[in-house]
Symmetry: D2
Subunit: 357 residues, 4 copies
Amino acid sequence: MLNLLTENFYNNTKTMKYSFKNDYSEGCHPRILERLIETNLAQQNGYGLDEYCLEAEKLIQQKINNPKAKVHFISGGTQANLIVISSVLRPHESVVSAFTGHIFTNESGAIEATGHKVHGVETADGKLRPQDIQEVLDVHTNIPHQVRQKVVYISNSTEIGTVYSKKELQELSDFCKGKNLYLFMDGARLGHALTAETNDLTLEEVAQLVDVFYLGGTKNGALIGEAIVIVNEKLQEEFGFHIKQRGAMLAKGRLLGIQFLELLKDDLYFKLAAHANQQAMKLKAAFMEIGCGFLTETFSNQIFPVLKNDQIEKLYQNYDFYVWKKIDAEKSAIRLITSWATQDEIIERYIQEIKKL
Amino acid sequence: MLNLLTENFYNNTKTMKYSFKNDYSEGCHPRILERLIETNLAQQNGYGLDEYCLEAEKLIQQKINNPKAKVHFISGGTQANLIVISSVLRPHESVVSAFTGHIFTNESGAIEATGHKVHGVETADGKLRPQDIQEVLDVHTNIPHQVRQKVVYISNSTEIGTVYSKKELQELSDFCKGKNLYLFMDGARLGHALTAETNDLTLEEVAQLVDVFYLGGTKNGALIGEAIVIVNEKLQEEFGFHIKQRGAMLAKGRLLGIQFLELLKDDLYFKLAAHANQQAMKLKAAFMEIGCGFLTETFSNQIFPVLKNDQIEKLYQNYDFYVWKKIDAEKSAIRLITSWATQDEIIERYIQEIKKL
Amino acid sequence: MLNLLTENFYNNTKTMKYSFKNDYSEGCHPRILERLIETNLAQQNGYGLDEYCLEAEKLIQQKINNPKAKVHFISGGTQANLIVISSVLRPHESVVSAFTGHIFTNESGAIEATGHKVHGVETADGKLRPQDIQEVLDVHTNIPHQVRQKVVYISNSTEIGTVYSKKELQELSDFCKGKNLYLFMDGARLGHALTAETNDLTLEEVAQLVDVFYLGGTKNGALIGEAIVIVNEKLQEEFGFHIKQRGAMLAKGRLLGIQFLELLKDDLYFKLAAHANQQAMKLKAAFMEIGCGFLTETFSNQIFPVLKNDQIEKLYQNYDFYVWKKIDAEKSAIRLITSWATQDEIIERYIQEIKKL
Amino acid sequence: MLNLLTENFYNNTKTMKYSFKNDYSEGCHPRILERLIETNLAQQNGYGLDEYCLEAEKLIQQKINNPKAKVHFISGGTQANLIVISSVLRPHESVVSAFTGHIFTNESGAIEATGHKVHGVETADGKLRPQDIQEVLDVHTNIPHQVRQKVVYISNSTEIGTVYSKKELQELSDFCKGKNLYLFMDGARLGHALTAETNDLTLEEVAQLVDVFYLGGTKNGALIGEAIVIVNEKLQEEFGFHIKQRGAMLAKGRLLGIQFLELLKDDLYFKLAAHANQQAMKLKAAFMEIGCGFLTETFSNQIFPVLKNDQIEKLYQNYDFYVWKKIDAEKSAIRLITSWATQDEIIERYIQEIKKL
């Protein structure tokens, strides 16, 4: 992976380069701005007790058909992960994640900073299976000299673009219940997962199969915001304290409530994710046409084509993206991410470039 | 103090009540929304490496006349406090605060959750003086059985509306340097402090006298955002890691950069704070006219008039505010906060009510 | 208080000075050494699963007439305090202590280092009363912006030598149950408390009135060791993990088990404490005879006579002790501590010195 | 690995079984008991400021020929690991360990509980090499989204009985200096490493090549105790605070000082370790004679012969040990540990049993 620091300093707006580096390069969907303008001067209570947050919670409860679920809005994914996990675990308990899991490598030790071990597991496709977790349990039987596994962390879609099938999530859910483990789904890209061409899960089913999850806004058209949905009533108690203690309780929580209200009231949320996926699939098709392979087969808004170094150089002249993984001396896999904001013209233009390779 | 939970659930927008409960009841200054619209579709780097954050940092460096200062934008005050303090302290070091300091009682143990003790000090007016800190040092000489004091936390304006004079801050700064303590200013309401009628400090002087401080946006016209300014170069090292680890690094950092750029480019920031102060001073004058006293004498956007219970009842019929402190069986002090958004008509209408008391 | 660091470097064994500085200046009661010799080569399981720890647990269960209590042996008081408190509290919960409580000032931030706030309360005599705790609860109603109090920490005897009466402990216990607070007694000097001339509590009653407590060995004839007794079954679960995680699980736990077995099998533990108390009371009587007053009235093994500076100088020529608190320009209170090892000759010799004052 | 809990409850002293389960099944070397008796009633300062600790520090400084090194005595290995690592690291920094490292799996998350990530590395023989660490550094370049590696943790002898050669430690030391990493050696069995038949390192060389290490007493004839030696002056500052804060500062530190003084004054420490190694090597030779292989080739006091299940059953009738790892359906590796207390008769008797296999 390239060093994001140097990469990030590369300022793509001063050039003509279009960026496929991530799905948070733009601001937010225009309807959100309109709604912010309309509501701007209405006085509201602070700390997530405004009308918009309360309505947005009701809306999510309806969509998952569970009025007992509790919903909390916070600003980002790492924050959601550390608050949920540290609120659930006792000091000697740990969390299991895929090696590719965001909490394992990309949060600067955020979970460990709350006092808990994260077990990394090698996976083929970024998805955890019961056997992966069982192997961790099997080598942690030396009580009380080893930590107790208590939370299983999964991402859907995963950090490498794959999505869980209903069967896979059902098996994981059954396994966790049987082993007295909590199942937590990082849904920073849940919209993309649930609108992927191969997906057979509904939001309601996700809510039935996990103990807690979140609906990501930041990567799907919001300025900021993730909606944490706590389904398991045992985990709901006093959650507000944890949000406040970690510095995640916005004085103007309205900013979060308004956005989710707008994104969810008519499924704009899923339309935007579906759009991102479709744009990625067009690129995938174009790469396949020229006989190029992929690091992992994906159906959401991230693709990882494997290209020759000179092909990468060519594409890099007019487009910005990450070189994800070196395959060998001649080849590397690159990562291309599309978003709610990726226009057709861009995709068409890029496909022409691919054909030229 | 009333229980904010029950209070907050009281939904003031469904009634005609106008709220003086806090300075974050509205959205943001319209110019910020305009700027968000203009910049919305420009692609930018994530994590605070966008053009707006970089420009806003330069702008602040110019305003404090210190190009070596480092600026980081995050979403809220509790977050700023816990990140700054935990990044500075070693495990056995502690922070000194007034009992009224936000970190001491109103952050749900956020500082302790990062592993550090907060020493509370009784003060007359919410402001720390060298003698207050010396008294803490004097009873912590039993090395290594007691924590080592290393950071002094002050708020300007304070949580009870008072402001530091140049002489007071100079003395505190000299004392801290002499005792090898870092001086950290919580500037959630720094704009209000620096535009208070009694203020004799400039922003540049504040930056010269403290090691680290922040400029609050949330309570002064922004949707969210505080600008942490690290003046002491020893404290600048690797600060980004701490922001990320605490879940405070926004993917769309642009949201913060754009707001501070807009607020600071032509001193809108100070104009908004001055407006809030003026509105509060008009109310103060009206209360003085009817011979009412105050819990503390303030010149910023918070006032604490002491009223008879029946007078409080009357005002409460059409206005929302907190009853701050019970004085005796007949009297209590209430807290009224004005903001950048408090219109003249509201103030005039309220003054009429005061006169009727 | 004098600076213990410099004080401690003063090496009293190279002079003829006898030390009243604390009750852990000597090794251990000879019977413990005999028992260590007898058992030395017997092979035993590690980590507190040896025969001696298991028998000592049974013995304590019998003494408190509660076979369901769980007993864990660790090496010291600060360790006992941090493990018990951090195992009980969730991240947003806090503990209430007297300002004089060991956890508040003398453990180098050990409790905060586990993430929890310690509320300090001013007391007349080092003992907490329901009203003291109620006052803390009263100013922490702003949910979820303030921490939730969950544990009440008391010491018996206290750090200033006072002891709880049955009535006082009963009231505290009732109050805590009513407020859903756990009551934790630091018993580093519990032997001294229960054998004090004014005491009317039994060990069994202590175990009935608190949720968890410990029996101190270090200050009462053992080489090291405190026996944590968890009475409340809710707090017993998985406690071993916490001991291990904090580095407190001795590979040779037998060292702790053997000592408590020897101290408790025939009440040697209480005989040693009673001896220490009696020696202190002889000194107290002598000081009273010469009309000297005391900082607090005590009946256990610590006394705090208030003396003129020149009198302190005289005593200091041949004896080592701490000057505890300056009373005024002419007077200070000193602290004298006696122990299981303080011989009659020493006491008699010292009484002669007192009479000469 | 068998579940140590159930294993441990198996009480070997009630049977004729001799235990090879670990090297802390007995008390301590008789000379230590004699010394405890001699010194028992001498009054000493508390908290490690007694004469014995001060002398023992000098003795260690002489043995490593470094008068500037600082020595601290604490009770156990997990405690030493967590205190050293948490005192060195800033919040965003991490430690690298072999998967077999004690801190990675056998300390119930003690390091993570202090807020830091432990990176596990696969190794052939429990020893870290520069390339292993470089691979961790290579995948953590995404600043500041990933933790910063700062400490390298190694054990000598390792948890699986192997020892570092001078060349290996020199290479590791050079690498760490070059990468600005601190090298920390867990010496719970350092005596055994330095007296192993294949060892070519001296204690002085170890002290020159690492930044901090400890000399283990618990597993080499002491009742309890590890001597932490801080060579790097940057890491010495205020270390006492960390010991106190973690509850590791014994009131009667004398207990630790006396033991190390006795073990080190005439190299008893190394004689005991050499004895343990020799006894293990005799068993190793016997197993080799019957053509049995080993999980890892060791020259210290731990051996891991691979046996058929029925052979294990036979040995288990009269001896206690751990079945370490299943090799296949027919075979497993067992762990046998000898100690300073393992007598020749036991070894001879056991060798007869091996021959019968």
